[in-house]
């Protein structure tokens, strides 16, 4: 029997436990449910939880421990000559046997006989079952695989039975506790709370996962390229080393990328913040509910358009427009029609990115401004303040922490933005300060180093992981600082 069967049984027991727990509670109350400490539904939930949770836990942990044990016994049972081979080699054989065991379970007895008689047919037979083998199987593997598969199925069976037993036990225990004074609700709520807490740790787990998935490759990168050269290098040219030393690796200077990232995000925020904020103010204070109900979703659509579309918009429309416009302008001023804005530039990228950021700013700010109690507005208006005065002096200050939060959130979007920058700002890692020239960002380089034709274990690819972790740490520091500011504001106004 497979694990899923046991899972199904346990779930069924859980459902039964709910029904039984509930009806038992009603029976105990004997007509006056208000005598019960908790509603009957809570008794049902309590019984269900008690039968489900421990059983599932036993199932999962049991399976994990069991398969670990089975794996270990397989490894220990490998022939001595295999054990003397390097670890990678052992792993390959180990995985082959694991794969074979899955295939052998699907083989008919005849096929097994054929394979036993002539080991060289096994690969083909297993192949027909969809089990690829990395190399020709050897007889000892077949035995090992058979033992492995019988061990594994034993473990599955016993763990499954155990967990069903636990489920039943849990159910009966729960039912036995049903009484007038039993605090079923509190128990259930504790479980709910535990669920909430676990959910909130997903964020931490994600972070751990991100760092975990970046760190090993980053370490490999730093083994080749000294961290100092990476963090303080001012030249990004992964394929060319500075000194002309043929064996040295290229230059992986972070500074030009970092500067480009910050610069572009800054330009985007400078444009998006006033537009978004004023749009939010207008919508929350001036616009009639009709206009509001039309404009708000319209602006939200801007946020929903995929970044790749913005990228092409920048590439095809905005970039050339800026270039030609600047040429016209310069020509009109000096008579020399050369463009001072490049088609691909910090300005282009920042501008197009700002379009996408507007709805973030406006939507978030609007919600925050709207959340300021109406009494504040009335108070100010009642004193003869105009709407704009009310907004500037009362509502905005009160909403400030929230707005700062919204802006920071938006800024971090800007920093993490990829596709727009790729198309609008270019990939040239220039170190310069003109907004009219192309620059590039960390995210662009992450994508490019990873998705190109580069050798996958060279520092050129690995640098993407170092960039990823750097970006992660930068945003972390930024956020910690931002939160600190927000808290200070909040204290001031509460």
């Amino acid at each position: 029997m497979g694990t899923s069967v046991f899972l199904l049984i346990i779930v069924l027991i859980g459902v039964a436990a709910y029904v039984l727990g509930r009806s038992r509670a009603i029976a105990v109350a004997a007509g006056d449910e208000s005598k019960l400490h908790s509603r009957p539904g809570y008794f049902g939930s309590y019984s269900a939880i008690l039968s489900l949770l421990p059983a599932l836990l036993v199932l999962v942990i049991g399976m994990a421990i069991g398969s670990e044990l089975v794996d270990r016994s397989l490894r220990n049972a490998l022939p001595a000559d295999v054990l003397s081979k390097p670890v990678e080699e052992q792993n390959v054989i180990f995985h082959m046997i694991q794969g074979m065991s899955g295939g052998i379970e699907k083989m008919t007895t005849e096929e097994k006989a054929t394979a036993k008689a002539d080991i060289s047919t096994l690969k083909a037979i297993l192949g027909s079952k969809g089990v690829p083998l990395a190399r020709e199987p050897e007889p000892f593997m077949v035995d090992a695989a058979e033992i492995y598969s019988s061990n594994a199925s034993n473990v599955r069976l016993s763990v499954g039975i155990l967990s069903v037993a636990v489920a039943l036990l849990g159910m009966f225990f729960a039912l036995s506790r049903v009484s007038l004074t039993f605090r079923a609700r509190n128990r259930v709520e504790h479980v709910v709370l535990a669920g909430l807490i676990i959910s909130s740790t997903i964020a931490i787990l994600t972070t751990v996962g991100i760092i975990g998935s970046l760190i090993s490759e980053t370490v490999r990168f730093f083994a080749v390229v000294p961290p100092l050269d990476f963090f303080f290098g001012t030249v990004w040219d992964p394929r060319f080393s500075a000194a002309g030393d043929a064996n040295a690796h290229g230059q992986f200077g972070l500074i030009p990328l970092l500067l480009g990232t910050v610069y572009i995000a800054l330009v985007a925020m400078l444009i998006a913040t006033p537009i978004g904020l004023f749009a939010a103010i207008y919508m929350s204070e001036y616009a009639s509910s009709r206009i509001r109900s039309i404009v708000k979703p319209l602006l939200e659509v801007l946020a929903g358009i995929p970044t790749i579309v913005y990228g092409f918009f920048a590439l095809i429309t905005i970039g050339p427009f800026f270039r030609d416009f600047s040429a016209q302008l310069w020509g009109a001023l000096t008579g020399n029609y050369t463009n001072f804005i490049e088609a691909q530039s910090v300005l282009t990228a920042g501008f197009v990115m700002s379009i996408r950021l507007i709805p973030f700013v406006s939507s978030l700010s609007d919600d925050i401004i709207t959340a300021v109690p109406r009494a504040m507005r009335d108070g100010s208006l009642g004193l003869g303040a105009t709407r704009s005065e009310t907004m500037k002096r009362v509502l905005l200050p009160a909403a400030l922490p929230g707005i700062v939060g919204a802006l920071l959130l938006t800024a971090s979007r800007a920093i993490g933005e990829t596709m727009i920058v790729v198309l609008a700002a270019g990939v040239a890692a220039n170190l310069q300060f003109s907004p009219f020239q192309p620059m590039t960002t960390i995210t662009v380089k992450i994508v490019n180093q990873l998705t190109g034709d580069l050798e996958f274990n060279s520092p050129q690819t690995l640098v993407a992981f170092a960039l990823g972790i750097t970006l992660f740490v930068i945003t972390l520091i930024l956020n910690v600082y931002a939160l600190y500011i927000v808290r200070k504001y909040r204290e001031q106004y509460e």
């Binding site: 990678e88 792993n91 390959v92 995985h95 082959m96 794969g99 690969k123 083909a124 297993l126 192949g127 027909s128 079952k129 969809g130 089990v131 690829p132 083998l133 990395a134 190399r135 992964p238 394929r239 060319f240 002309g244 030393d245 043929a246 092409f312 590439l315 095809i316 970039g319 050339p320 270039r323 490049e342 088609a343 691909q344 790729v422 198309l423 270019g426 990939v427 040239a428 220039n430 020239q437 192309p438 662009v444 994508v447 490019n448 180093q449 990873l450 998705t451 190109g452 034709d453 580069l454 050798e455 996958f456 274990n457 060279s458 050129q460 690819t461």
Partner: protein
């Protein structure tokens, strides 16, 4: 895995797609293969992760697998790999239809785009801003080139076949070696592209380059031959060494700038993945990679007959690398 899973180079992707589609139509018993595009590096990385139903079966590559990658493969149990060369990719210079004609040589490319060029027996930062300065027969327009970014395999070909060639032809290499550089380092220096905005790296695909040329009519861009042919109504091509790039001229070896395209088959999966054998055989058949096949029609430059025969031989014996 009841389905062939392929990953790798985005240059090979269109060809793999055509084959996959025709394969599915010809062999309705098999599910159509899934072809990922994520770049040669990412594809090979997946490919070399091990042998098992959850790993990919074929990696497309626009370059040969590197030794270090092969090593990783082997240590992960992917020991038996068959290499299949499917043909060549021609690399062309193209301009907007309205731009003045261009007939390049490696020397011109080198003088226009290298970071340092020899002037009066010394290596100096590239002073050329107009094509005319590179070659008096060219027009008096600004140098502006969109070349493949470093992530592209095309870049390597561009550097080897044009920059280094031009570097040698102009005597710059010699000059550098004389100046005390090692041969290897000097060759590397030849590949350095100017960074003053005249040569712009494109890390996107050719359609991005096309869009840029659209927006900048006098610029020259580097494309794959197939892409150019699909957009011949907008673009005009530059000759290299006087040869017009066509499927024929590349196939014959007259046109100098091309690179081979490959895919790698995980032999361990041959039995396990239904259709894998058939797919590879179908792919290497002349009805696909031959001069009359749909791949050639799309822009793949077929390998010479002998090479194709060799590939088929290798496939039928599942030759190990």
């Amino acid at each position: 895995a009841d389905q062939i899973h392929i990953a790798g180079s985005s240059t090979v992707l269109p060809y793999a797609k055509i084959v996959a589609e025709n394969f599915a139509e010809t062999y309705p018993d098999f599910k159509a293969p899934v072809v990922e595009s994520g770049g040669t590096g990412a594809g090979l990385k997946e490919f070399c992760k091990g042998a098992g139903p959850e790993t990919i079966d074929i990696a497309n590559a626009s370059r040969k697998i590197k030794d270090s990658e092969l090593e990783t493969c082997k240590s992960n149990g992917v020991t038996d790999i068959t290499e299949v060369k499917i043909g060549y990719d021609g690399i062309v210079f193209a301009l907007d239809k309205s731009a003045p004609d261009l007939a390049l040589t490696p020397t011109d490319v080198y003088l226009a785009l290298a970071a340092e060029v020899p002037v009066d027996g010394k290596m100096v930062a590239n002073p050329n801003t107009k094509w005319k300065a590179v070659n008096a027969s060219f027009s008096d327009t600004d140098i502006q080139a969109f070349i493949p970014g470093e992530k592209h395999g095309t870049r390597e070909v561009f550097e080897e076949k044009l920059l280094v060639a031009g570097c040698k032809a102009t005597g710059a290499l010699e000059l550098m070696v004389k100046g005390g550089m090692e041969e290897k380092a000097a060759e590397k220096a030849c590949k350095a592209v100017r960074k003053d905005g005249k040569a712009v790296d494109i890390d996107g695909d050719y359609s991005e380059t096309l869009a840029r040329i659209d927006a900048n009519k006098t610029a020259v861009g580097v494309f794959g031959l197939s892409f150019y042919e699909n957009n011949a109504d907008k673009l005009k091509v530059s000759t290299v060494n006087g040869v017009v790039p066509t499927v024929e001229s590349v196939a014959k070896g007259e046109y100098p700038v091309s690179r081979p395209l490959f895919f790698y088959v995980k032999k361990a999966h041959l039995e396990a993945v239904p259709g894998l054998k058939e797919y590879v055989e179908f792919f290497t058949g002349d009805q696909m990679i031959g001069p009359e096949g749909p791949l050639a029609e799309y822009g793949l430059i077929p390998a010479p007959d002998a090479e194709r025969e060799a590939v088929r031989a290798a496939v039928s014996s599942w030759k190990n690398m």
